[in-house]
């Protein structure tokens, strides 16, 4: 209620003020038309009196001011034309000082002053000096600021700058600078004074009003930046020190922040670079509540862009030791502002790091230094808990990763892991993931064991349990994601040189072994396959003198896969043992291959009890064994015997049957020197047939109808397979017999019609027909089979 009342009042007062101006302006215009100086002065003074109000907020006062401003322009034109009013400008200057109240008096004086300077009847600097001093007469903040703003506006194009018409014997750039600096100082003093007036509850309103006025003060800095005669030396010697003096001494938080920011924006980056020490020197002297880090960040941002847009200035950066100065300044600021929250300090380091990466990307020592400063700041403190601070640390650590697409560069920063140590375990893991993601995105490759060591130190939060981890933080999906990341990164650790590659593998192994049972199923497979790839590369090389030999690697593999027994993960371990067995076979290492098969078989016997798992495992065993050719007769027989033995013990009849006929392939290898034991093959097939029969009978008994004939058709196909391959033990008569058996089974009373097995049988018969029609040797073979 009160606020809207107040606003309504203000509107009313503004309207009154405007009305007053318009009223007096009307009469003033009449006087101007009549060339009546006295009257013109009288009414203009009255008009200007409206600006004496203290009831308006800056926003509204500005509206009033603009009206007055417009009227004063007309008055100025009148003053200029001496023939109209017959008064010399010097006399005019005297005359207006007779106005009753000081504010109108000074506005008129400034207006005449403008004409006076233009007439060149007095040295510019004298007029300017007089005006800037006279304005001291108005000490009310709002009125004073607008008055001096008026002065600044009308004097702007009349400053004795180099090349300006107002430059002369006595009038130099220095005078222009003096004038603007003085006006600026006075304006700042007025502005700052606003804070001190009024009770505490009005302070918010005050701050808002102050902000509305700030551009009036800042404009002076703009003007200074436009003065052409100010070169670097003048800026360095006079302009900057004076501005900073005012900024520091006013001891006002709002003013200091705004003016530092303004200063950085309006003056050229080149100047900032050359006056860095002075500029930075002011920072610790500012009020402790000033958000100096934003100011410094702005500065560093500007300097970075400067460096980016003009690479030729880079030597300058080095010459002025920009990095060192900024680094020291930041350190000082953090030290002086003792109660700056940690997030503030880290944000500063992030800004400095960004600067460093943009301006001096090749100076890894600088980058490391920034990280080191951060480490120092974080030392002797408990682990970070503030999430904003943590975010900033993550930003700090991510910056080098983004800049250097080659992860190895970031790995050389000695302080990098030390910063990571200060993160809480959750964030540490997140950061580790960021690192891995960066490696994957950039398709980087880490190719030395040393660097791998550093990398795994960095990501140790993912590799093993660290103290500080709490048990209930473990979300399964997150954990799996983490571990899959680790698994992926293992594949980008690579070196062409086998010796170095083996070192890498050993380093990785060392680390993942500390991971515990939960992590091993994720991390062991990629390591195993990495090692197998290395073995393949070495396969054709001989020589036990090399540090890297397949034998040594196989030993390593054995120990590694063994660790899976602690998880336990028997199915995975079995698969990996079989992979190794096959690889050992390719290397011609019979004992090694035998050992791996043994390990696999032991696992099968002792650990794999689930039926479905057994079926898969057996097919993997048979598939692998079928391909191995390194074994002598005895070893092969032992293993084959075991495999067929396992097949025989499968629970479900169909599984049993299929495994048995799969075993037939153990006795027939299509290679040149492959085993081709026709009799054993037939034995397997016959056994399979018996099992299929038994299955049918069981079904009859248990369910009242026999099962589908699928198994018989499968066995028929196997008969055909070996028949074609030239196994003399398989006769066309046997095949014929099987065909008839199937037909009978399908037509029997107890048969359950099954579309799938019917189609299968039809396809098979069609195949036989196709072979018969082939002609030649094949056609002859199949000739005796009737379908």
């Amino acid at each position: 209620m009160m606020i809207s009342d107040a606003m309504e009042d203000e509107e009313k007062w503004l309207a009154e003020g405007i009305a007053g101006i318009q009223h007096n302006a009307f009469y003033m215009h009449r006087a101007l038309d009549a060339n009546n100086l006295r009257e013109a002065l009288k009414y203009s003074a009255q008009l200007l009196s409206e600006l004496r109000t203290s009831r308006l907020s800056p926003h509204k006062y500005y509206e009033l001011y603009m009206r007055a401003f417009d009227e004063l322009r007309k008055l100025e034109m009148f003053f200029k034309e001496e023939e109209r009013h017959g008064c010399s400008v010097m006399d005019l200057y005297e005359l207006v000082q007779h106005a009753g109240n000081i504010l109108p008096r000074l506005y008129l004086l400034c207006t005449v002053g403008s004409v006076y300077i233009k007439s060149k009847e007095a040295p510019t600097k004298d007029v300017l000096k007089d005006l800037v001093e006279m304005c001291r007469g108005v000490q009310h903040p709002i009125r004073g600021l607008f008055l001096r703003s008026y002065l600044a506006q009308i004097s702007r194009d009349k400053l004795p700058d180099i090349g300006s018409e107002y430059e002369g014997d006595g009038d130099t750039v220095m005078d222009a600078v003096e004038f603007v600096l003085q006006n600026f100082s006075e304006m700042n003093k007025l502005w700052v004074r606003m804070e001190l007036q009024g009770p505490a509850r009005v302070r918010d309103k005050m701050e808002k009003e102050r902000n509305e006025l700030r551009d009036l003060v800042g404009k002076n800095l703009h003007v200074l930046s436009q003065i052409e005669g100010i070169d670097l030396d003048l800026y360095k010697e006079t302009v900057l020190p004076r501005i900073l003096e005012q900024v520091v001494n006013c001891k006002d938080e709002l003013a200091q922040y705004y003016l530092m920011d303004c200063l950085i924006q309006v003056f050229p980056d080149e100047y900032h670079l050359q006056t860095l020490e002075t500029l930075l020197g002011a920072c610790p002297q500012l009020q402790p509540t000033v958000d100096i880090k934003t100011v410094l960040s702005q500065l560093m941002e500007r300097l970075s862009s400067y460096a980016a847009s003009s690479p030729e200035v880079l030597p300058e950066f080095l010459q002025v030791e920009a990095f060192a100065k900024l680094s020291t300044a930041i350190g000082k600021v953090i030290e002086t502002q003792g109660d700056m929250p940690i997030v503030g300090a880290i944000t500063l380091y992030v800004s400095l790091l960004t600067f460093t990466l943009r301006v001096h990307p090749d100076r890894l020592d600088y980058v490391d230094q920034v990280l080191g400063s951060c480490v120092k700041k974080l030392s002797n403190r408990p682990k970070l808990e503030d999430s904003r601070a943590t975010k900033q640390v993550v930003a700090l650590l991510s910056a080098p990763l983004e800049k250097y697409s080659d992860i190895v560069t970031s790995l050389t920063l000695s302080n990098y892991p030390r910063v990571m140590d200060h993160l809480d375990s959750g964030t540490n893991k997140i950061m580790a993931m960021v690192i891995i993601q960066s490696i994957m995105t950039n398709q980087a490759c880490v190719s030395s064991a040393d660097k791998v060591e550093v990398l795994f130190e960095l990501i140790k939060g993912l590799i093993k349990d660290l103290e500080g981890d709490s048990e209930d933080e473990l979300d399964e999906e997150d954990f799996n994601e983490e571990q899959n990341y680790v698994a992926r990164v293992i594949h980008v650790l690579y070196n062409d040189d086998p010796e170095e590659m083996l070192k890498i593998i050993c380093t990785v192994r060392k680390h993942i072994m500390t991971g515990g049972p939960k992590r091993l199923p994720f991390t062991v497979p990629p390591l195993v396959f990495s090692a197998l790839k290395l073995i393949r590369r070495l396969q054709n090389q001989d020589g036990d003198e090399d540090p890297a030999t397949p034998k040594k690697i196989f030993q390593l593999l054995n120990q590694t896969i063994e660790a899976l027994s602690y998880v336990p993960a028997p199915e995975l371990a079995l698969r990996l043992y079989l992979q190794c067995a096959e690889a050992a076979n390719d290397c011609d290492l019979e004992p090694v291959a035998y050992e791996f098969f043994t390990q696999a078989f032991v696992l099968y016997e002792e650990e794999i009890a689930d039926s479905k798992a057994q079926v898969t495992a057996i097919h993997l065993i048979i598939g692998t064994l079928q391909r191995t050719n390194v074994f002598g007769v005895e070893n092969r027989d032992t293993l084959t015997h075991k495999a067929t033995g396992y097949s025989a013990k499968l629970l479900k009849k169909p599984d049993h049957c299929r495994a048995v006929y799969a075993c037939s392939h153990l006795f027939w290898v299509d290679d040149q020197d492959g085993i081709k034991d026709g009799e054993r093959v037939l034995l397997c097939l016959k056994r399979a047939l018996r099992i299929a029969n038994a299955a049918q009978q069981m079904a009859n008994v248990a369910r009242g109808s026999s099962g589908p004939v699928t198994l018989f058709v499968e066995i028929l196909n196997k008969y055909l397979y070996y028949f074609e391959k030239g196994n003399t033990q398989i006769t066309s008569a046997a095949i014929q017999g099987l065909i008839e058996l199937i037909k009978t089974e399908m037509q029997s009373d107890t048969a359950t019609p099954d579309r799938i097995s019917d189609a299968f049988f039809a396809c098979t018969l069609r195949y036989i027909q196709f072979q018969k029609q082939k002609g030649g040797a094949m056609g002859e073979k199949f000739d005796t089979i009737k379908v």
């Binding site: 990164v489 594949h491 497979p525 196909n717 196709f770």
Partner: protein
């Protein structure tokens, strides 16, 4: 014209970190109508990625797959063709064409897609066509040496299927194509 992507044996993250970048940029969502995957993805992320390319995703179980609920075999009808899918570790001897032919007859399909050996194959025999899309990541295989990353795209149009094989050889994607025609509605 129906586009079917046949892909498999990625072995992520056991044997490979990711699909090759060149393949990833080629496989964009919305272009393919079906995906048939031979198996050994191995993790859910890969399943989700394939699903994002095309909602009609069919997967059979490889021996390293994290999800044990994928079926051992699958048959799908697309247009005039019946397709069969199976990883292939179950068919001994591994990669043996005649044994695969038996599986094809058993499933009664025109096209059998099977993997495990990581070696691209596409050939025609009495019962139909057998396609092995190879390994999309070029993963290590005990069976095949020097595996190049590969996958297959089938364009099924009426009674004709054009099989495009994409192989990454020395950093470049090479494409080859093979035509197969089916006679009427009987199998090829």
């Amino acid at each position: 014209m129906v586009l079917v992507l046949a892909i498999g044996d990625l072995h992520i993250p056991h044997r490979a970190p990711d699909l090759p970048a060149k393949f990833k940029s080629m496989l964009v969502p919305g272009k393919i109508q079906h995906i048939i995957c031979t198996g050994n993805l191995c993790i859910k992320e890969v399943h989700d990625y394939l699903k994002s390319l095309c909602p009609s995703l069919h997967v059979t179980r490889g021996e390293y797959d994290e999800d044990s609920r994928y079926p051992e075999t699958k048959t799908i009808t697309i247009g005039q063709f019946k397709l069969g899918l199976c990883h292939g570790h179950q068919v001994v001897p591994w990669g043996d064409l005649d044994s695969l032919a038996m599986l094809q007859r058993q499933l009664d399909v025109d096209i059998l897609v099977s993997g495990h050996t990581h070696q691209f194959k596409a050939y025609k025999h009495e019962a139909g066509v057998v396609i092995n899309p190879g390994s999309a990541t070029g993963a290590y295989s005990s069976v095949t040496y020097d595996v190049n990353p590969s996958f297959v795209l089938m364009d099924i149009d009426g009674l004709r299927v054009v099989v495009y094989v994409y192989e990454l050889i020395d950093g470049e994607v090479k494409v080859d194509k093979i035509d197969f025609k089916k006679t009427s509605t009987a199998t090829i």
